[in-house]
Amino acid sequence: MTDNTAIAFATAIAQGSLRVVDLTFTLSPDMPVIVLPPEFGQSSPVRIQQISRYDENGPGWYWNNITVGEHTGTHFDAPVHWYTGKDLPNNAVDTLPVEHMIAPACVIDCSAQAAADPDFLLTRAFVEDWEKSHGRILAGHWVLLRTDWSKLGPRDFANLREDGAHTPGPDSNVMEWLVNERDILGFGTETIGTDAGQGSHFAPPHPAHHFLHGAGRYGLQCLRNLDQLPPTGAILITTPLKILNGSGSPLRVLGVAPS
């Protein structure tokens, strides 16, 4: 049996030689969601409404109805989410290749920079510098931006000011480069979006969305526990709900890394 790789993988997890790290926030109404100008349509916040709890509405069982947007909590962005990916094949969560749901990840630690500057931007130079230490980012990898933003309280996490959100993210140039020159599978962040808080003022606006989805790549946001993953050598398991023509989905993101 040991020559069965799948069993070997499971055995490694069972025996602890591989760690499973939960990279997901609890789906809760307290979790900030993306804020758009109020005249636009808004994402539903998370709502959990009890159907019964061993009571007159169901004496022996407990269950809830939940309401979520496709982009609430820890969630996955499919290419169809952005206009740049709207015409691609297999661009929605129900049609994307399941092979993409298990893939290796690189984790770029920018936590010190983000702590110093909420508007910290990841640049190509920063990544190239990272590659000097950890090796070239290989095709088909997730690139995860570790900022420790997930450790902040809700107000600092959203960090809204009069001129909008101030949260770290990638600049336009690095996104185009990661997609075209490194052929990454997707880009993941701890913040509300894959783009920086001020990303709407970049050229093009929201470059992470623009370039990732335009090339059929994916986004992950509201990740946490990225500090428990190694810079390289971990894999992500990312299985969005199979929503008909879904643009994204809340999901459980698991990281698997050597102990």
Binding site: P29, G41, I48, Q50, P154
Partner: protein, 413 residues
């Protein structure tokens, strides 16, 4: 002389909370005309359209000319007390608990004699100012007050049974993020209440935040989220004497120029389901505390758009959400009445806020709504039309609802 009301101390946790008994509630159909007047704070009686006789008690025919045309008509509110008594041994539980109770006969300047509740500073032979009030059963009663200002007039024991004064009461204002919510909180505090202000999405900053947090207890509350409301009620439910539902979620638009229901659903979530959540979470405790001393549960206040009564197509789905909540308020009114807690509905025209930016004046300052809320609580009214637009809609609804419907439709260009 009325002794000034004293701030109540903490309750003895060994004492049972006194349950609300209600005064006699039976009234004839015609008698309910006076309920209509009392709800709006008017002193009005039936007046014969043929012979001009003011009639009281309510009748189905004029006792002078037998005309059946006896419309409710605003009446001069002056009168003179011609006899009085102090009822010390009432047969009814409500009054027995509150005995002794002063009543009198008032000869009204406009004609009829009226048995009335007497303010403590009104005596036999004196001139009085009459009003129709809603008692704890929600029914109209006549009340005689001094014609002049007297010390601590509003603290009169019998008068307080007719009102829901904020003094020494604890109020929850559901939305501190808006100018309206902030104005209401400030006005209630100025009227002597301790104010809790709800705040949804506390991570979103907003103007006035610092002042709000300095002056009031800011508590997490997202009315559209059942759990949030229930969790707050678990903490505060037994302490809220006045709840002001100031939810204000306005988005322009009718039906045909919107292709998704999302915004419409948001309006219903805020106005309709928000109301449901608040009622189910806070209503039972309020209903149980209607007779709980000086700071008993007293009132539930709703701030509605007057277009809850007649759909205004440019804000058509909002009007519908308001209408849904208005209907709920009537349900709640019946349910809370059992606990002696009144439901006060304010109807407003467009507020002077960003969502009515393109609407031409007159527009209503949030402060005006806040003042109207305090006045309604202090005067004991139930249906209040605030400002010129609301009053305009009220009058046109009475005159010709179809004409109003056409007019409100045609504003779409």
């Amino acid at each position: 002389m009325v002794e000034p009301l004293q701030k109540p101390g903490r309750k003895n946790p060994l004492d049972r909370t006194r349950q609300q008994a209600l005064p006699p509630a039976g009234r004839s159909r015609k008698g309910q005309l006076l309920t209509l007047a009392a709800a709006q704070g008017r002193f009005a009686l039936q007046c014969c359209s043929e012979c001009g006789l003011f009639c009281y008690p309510a009748r189905d025919a004029c006792p002078n000319c037998l005309s059946a045309d006896l419309p409710l008509t605003d009446a001069p509110n002056g009168g003179t007390i011609v006899s009085e008594t102090t009822v010390r041994v009432p047969t009814d539980v409500y009054f027995r608990e509150r005995a002794s109770w002063r009543i009198g006969i008032v000869k009204l300047d406009c004609g009829p004699e009226m048995v009335a509740h007497l303010h403590a500073d009104c005596y036999d032979g004196e001139r009085v100012r009459m009003s129709l009030q809603l008692d704890k059963s929600g029914q109209a009663v006549a009340f005689a007050r001094p014609t002049e200002k007297t010390p601590n007039q509003a603290d009169d024991r019998q008068w307080r049974e007719m009102t829901a004064t904020p003094k020494f009461r604890r109020a929850l204002v559901t939305n501190g993020r808006t100018a309206l919510g902030q104005a209401v909180a400030a006005a209630l505090k100025a009227a002597g209440a301790e104010v809790y202000v709800g705040l949804a999405d506390p991570w979103k900053p907003f103007p006035g935040e610092e002042t709000l947090k300095r002056d009031h207890h800011v508590v997490p509350l997202d009315v559209a989220d059942e759990r949030s409301v229930q969790e707050l009620a678990a903490d505060l439910g037994g302490k809220i004497d006045i709840l002001v539902n100031s939810t204000e979620h306005v988005r322009p638009g009718g039906l045909l120029d919107r292709r998704v229901t999302n915004a419409v659903k948001d309006e219903m979530d805020q106005h309709h389901f928000g109301f449901v959540h608040l009622a189910q979470a806070f209503g039972p405790a309020m209903r149980a505390r209607g007779a709980d001393g000086v700071n008993s549960a007293a009132a539930w206040v709703n701030v509605f758009s007057v277009y809850a009564l007649a759909n205004w197509a440019p804000f058509g789905t909002n009007s519908a959400a308001q209408a849904a909540a208005l209907s709920l308020s009537h349900c709640l009114r019946g349910e809370l009445r059992l606990g002696g807690v009144r439901v006060v509905n304010l109807f407003t025209g467009p507020l002077d806020t960003e969502w009515f930016q393109t609407v031409p004046p007159p527009k209503l300052a949030p402060k005006a709504v806040a003042s109207a809320i305090v006045a309604a609580l202090e005067n004991g009214t139930e249906d209040v039309f605030v400002g010129d637009v609301a009053e305009d809609v009220r009058q046109r609804l009475l005159a010709n609802p179809k004409a109003l419907e056409r007019d409100l439709n045609q504003r779409i260009s």
